[in-house]
């Protein structure tokens, strides 16, 4: 058995092959044995795309290791392909010399044709550059389950567990976790549980007995900080972060949401948290969702709405209302490929512009971005803390990769979370609806039902202090400035930026959001190549941190990697008058470490 530091495995097959379940099980087991992990579910928009087609291929990639794992990996070490289409789609992302584990039974001439293979690649030298392990997964699973009362069709569905068993053997993983999971998931269907466990174990023993792998691997535990951990996706941590903030502020949470990929799991997760005082409205449309959240905030709860790009576009007017009436609200934007319907299941960072600028009028608001699935907890908590404190809506940016990707999350201590004061006004003495707190410029938050504080709010411009409708030109100018200044004051909440790598020198990499892992590792690689490179990763993308300009000035060149065609970069260039260069990719996939490293080298030395 060889010991390796980290491994990237990709499972791929039809949407109905159980690829996501297989990948999730492998992930949870890796986490439980102490590896650090990062995952990338990569699936088509169709629920059950036609079997065997290239566009119907569903993938799940995981990198697990004995070191700090920051990305799901640029390229796979092993590919588990359940059919010819999965092989075709993923071959280019498999390391030369890497392992291909295929289900030979799926390589029928029909499936080969559907996948566009003119000849069976298992029977010629197409795959000569890789180690190919051919297994009759379907036949062996049926054979293993011949005593099972299940129908053949249902037996065949267990072949993903047969494959998982083989991969568990390949990487010396215990079966226990998946066995427990199957017993619990199919508690009411013991025949199904038994068949799946049998398939899993048979796969494991088959790999051992038939010695199908040239080598097996051990990936030791990663040096992870002490504590209790849980494997989480970004959509789960987002939900937990919001609920935690509301509960710490003494508030109930209200979510208005309309189902949309890839944000729906935020709705699902929050709907299951009723005990924490969470009320969810599955609204009739995106606009109703945000409006109901505003109505709930108006009544004294923490109003939240969750959506993706098309929904954010629809919510623009209502978000403007929330900032005009100066009520708290968190808008979660789980970005996906755009524009329009775009690539619903693929990741992108192209909502930067609409988040910052997508409203009529002068309408700035704080925009915060999460950098990893676990970090969504902190970002969501901070978004809620700021919106409650400053009484202006906050947009929380995540994306499809963060939403569905997973990594271990160190469960916090309650005492470590920042306190949040909801601070409702109840005193009629000296009350005016648009009076302001000096430190935050927030106006009072008054719950309807409070005697003596009856007042009116609305989208028409209001007179400073009194809140009466006002068309006075100077008042409007002043109110626009006040709303802007309030958002700018959020800068006082920002800790100094951490500069990763060199503190001054050749190249500064400025990133935001889910590109963090790739940028961090890419910077490490460029440092190893001798470039004096540093990196800052922006938690807040509006307002920008107060020390960013000073840090930019310490470097000769600036690189801004983004999964869009250049959005943050325009703000950086506009704010700091610096000739920043972009690394831009909109291919529905996260940035690669290698791409970041190369972009740094190209910027420093000129393109090769």
């Amino acid at each position: 058995m060889q010991t390796v530091e980290s491994v990237v495995v990709r499972f791929a097959g039809d949407s109905g092959d159980g690829v996501q379940v297989t990948g999730t099980q492998f992930t949870n087991t890796a986490a439980l044995v102490g590896n650090d992990i990062a995952t990338l579910p990569d699936y088509p928009a169709e629920i059950r795309a036609p079997a065997g087609t290239l566009f119907g291929v569903s993938g799940f990639q995981i990198q697990f290791g004995a070191t700090d794992i920051r990305t799901p990996g640029d390229i796979s070490d092993a590919l588990v392909a359940f059919n010819p289409a999965a092989l075709k789609v993923n071959l280019s992302r498999l390391r030369k010399g890497g392992l291909i584990l295929v289900n030979v039974d799926a390589f029928s001439s029909r499936n080969l044709t559907k996948a566009g293979w003119e000849h069976n690649p298992l029977e010629d030298d197409t795959l000569a550059a890789w180690q190919v392990v051919k297994v009759n997964m379907t036949r062996l699973t049926r054979e293993a389950l011949k005593e099972s009362p299940l129908k053949t069709k249902d037996k065949d569905r267990a072949k993903n567990l047969f494959a998982l068993g083989m991969v568990y053997f390949l990487y010396d993983r215990p079966l226990e976790h998946t066995v427990n999971w199957l017993n619990s998931k199919f508690a009411k269907l013991p025949n199904v549980a038994e068949a799946n466990i049998k398939a899993l174990k048979t796969g494991y023993y088959y790999a051992e007995t038939a010695e199908i792998f040239r080598a097996t691997y051990q990936v030791p535990e990663a040096p992870i900080a002490a504590g209790r951990y849980r494997n989480v996706t970004g959509n789960l941590t987002t939900a937990m972060g919001l609920v935690s903030a509301a509960q710490n502020a003494g508030l109930d949470l209200f979510l208005g949401s309309y189902p949309i990929t890839p944000a729906s799991d935020v709705l699902h997760n929050l709907a299951s948290m009723r005990a924490h005082g969470v009320r969810t409205l599955q609204a009739e449309d995106e606009i109703a969702a945000v409006c109901a959240a505003i109505g709930a905030s108006y009544a004294g709860q923490l109003g939240v709405c969750s959506t993706s790009g098309p929904g954010l576009a629809l919510k623009g007017e209502a978000i403007g209302l929330a900032l005009m009436v100066e009520l708290p609200m968190v808008v979660v934007d789980v970005q996906r490929g755009g524009p329009s319907t775009g690539l619903p299941t693929k990741t992108e960072q192209s909502d930067f512009n609409i988040a910052l600028f997508g409203r009529n009028g002068d309408s700035p608001l704080p925009v915060i971005a999460a950098k990893s699935p676990a970090d969504c907890f902190d970002a969501a908590y901070e978004a809620a803390r700021i919106t409650i404190k400053y009484r202006t809506p906050v947009i929380l940016m995540t994306d499809g990769y963060l939403a569905n990707g997973s990594e271990p999350w160190k469960i916090p201590n309650e005492a470590d979370l920042a306190p949040i004061e909801s601070d409702f006004r109840t005193d009629p003495e000296g009350f005016q609806p648009y009076m302001r707190d000096e430190a935050t410029l927030a106006r009072p938050w008054v719950k309807p039902g409070t005697p003596g504080l009856e007042h009116r709010v609305g989208g028409l411009e209001k007179q400073h202090l009194t809140g009466n409708v006002s068309y006075d030109p100077m008042n409007h100018h002043r109110m626009c400035e006040l709303r802007r200044d309030k958002v700018d004051l959020v800068r006082q909440e920002m800790p100094p930026l951490e500069v990763i790598g060199e503190q001054s020198g050749d190249v500064l990499v400025i990133g935001w959001g889910s590109t963090y892992g790739a940028i961090r590792s890419g910077v490490d690689a460029a440092l190893a190549d001798g470039v004096k490179v540093g990196a800052v990763h922006l938690r807040w993308i509006n307002p920008l941190p107060p020390d960013l300009g000073e840090i930019i000035a310490r470097f000769d060149k600036v690189l801004v990697p983004e999964m869009n065609l250049g959005q943050l970069i325009k703000v950086i260039r506009g704010e700091f008058l610096v000739d920043a260069k972009g690394l831009n990719k909109v291919q529905g996939m996260p940035l690669n470490v290698g791409e970041v490293k190369q972009a740094i080298l190209d910027l420093q030395y000129g393109e090769a």
């Binding site: 209790r228 009320r279 109505g295 004294g300 309650e414 039902g449 003596g452």
Partner: protein, 342 residues
């Protein structure tokens, strides 16, 4: 709270100058609403008036209650969130036919479907006022306006019918200038648990003056409208000699009592509490000039309300935790966890 809340109409008037056009029907509605709300035994601070955009939507600014002037068409959605967040509040939604029937049509039907306990006041003047006189979804075919110089080809919504179709548990019609009728209808809506929908026929003196006069004007209303009273036959006319009868093909006709042997026993008897909305829908088809215009309560049935259903789920979920929120630590520790030793 058993204490009687002593309020007068003036207690519910804000200090803001009312800015509707002189002679607008909204003045009478404002006065009627203030008068009615003063008698509800509800503390002023528990009243919330929520509106969208349009002439009618300025309403909250003139009420000395909590008020929220939101964006065009969305007041039912905002109000749903407000009521869910605090079911103790008494929520009124105010909007015109453009706000509620056109841009906000989707939210209107869904608040009715959910049966959130609040009252919708639809000021129907069959015209766009604030944008200066375009046809609205209730104007009807042939209406000549600035945006339909050759006559509108848009068929009209019948608001009561639309509300009933969306599952309204309370649907009523009244008229801006009928002070007592308006107040009685508002009080009945307030007592109803669930979404109460009131269509108020409202005169726009500038862009659609007299639109309802041929039916609801002082001199003609006895002959051109019929009051719907639960359990009572549909009788109308200055002489109380006309009635509404149902034909075998489920259409309605006007008959005269005493003519051709027609008696009260032949008339439709209103049943506002019928489980199914069929009769109410049939009555909603009665339109001027062929039929008397029905006013009063078309439908009033009891159904679970949305915010109570949601609160029940929260209560049920908290029952296992002594009626309180579980700790955050317990939330975070669900599912598989593992410990990494120092």
């Amino acid at each position: 709270m058993n204490d009687i809340i002593q309020l007068t109409r003036k207690d519910l008037a804000s200090d803001q100058e009312v800015r509707w056009c002189p002679g607008c029907g909204d003045y009478a509605i404002l006065k009627g609403v203030q008068s009615a709300l003063a008698t509800l035994n509800v503390p002023r601070e528990n009243m919330v008036v929520i509106s969208g955009i349009g002439c009618a939507a300025r309403f909250p600014y003139y009420m000395n209650t909590y008020g929220f002037h939101t964006i065009h068409g969305r007041s039912p959605a905002v109000a749903t969130g407000t009521k869910m967040a605090n079911p103790d509040l008494h929520v009124w939604i105010v909007g015109g036919d453009g706000d509620m029937m056109s841009i906000g049509g989707n939210h209107l039907i869904h608040v009715l479907r959910r049966n959130v306990d609040l009252t919708v006041l639809l000021f129907n003047n069959r015209i766009y006022g604030l944008t200066k006189g375009q046809f609205s979804p209730t104007s009807g075919v042939g209406k000549k306006t600035k945006s339909s110089p050759m006559g509108s080809i848009d068929p009209a919504f019948e608001p009561i019918s639309l509300a009933l179709g969306a599952g309204a548990t309370f649907a009523a019609r009244t008229v801006d200038l009928w002070g007592k009728h308006l107040q009685a209808t508002i009080k009945a809506a307030h007592e109803h648990k669930g979404t109460s929908f009131i269509e108020i026929l409202q005169n726009c003196i500038i862009f659609n003056d007299g639109a309802f006069d041929p039916a609801v004007g002082k001199k003609v209303k006895s002959d051109k409208t019929v009051e719907l009273v639960h359990g009572e036959p549909l009788i109308f006319g200055a002489e109380r000699d006309k009635g509404v009868r149902i034909r075998k093909d489920l259409t309605l006709e006007v008959v005269t009592l005493g003519e051709n042997g027609v008696t009260e026993d032949d008339l439709v008897v209103h049943n506002a509490h019928a489980e199914l909305p069929g009769l109410a829908q049939l009555l909603a088809t009665m339109e001027y000039p062929d039929m008397p215009v029905p006013v009063g309560i078309f439908r009033q049935v009891s159904r679970p309300t949305y915010e109570v259903g949601m609160d029940a789920q929260v209560t049920q979920a908290q029952a296992a935790h002594g009626g309180d929120k579980p700790s955050l630590t317990s939330l975070w520790n669900q599912g598989d966890t593992w410990d990494v030793a120092p």
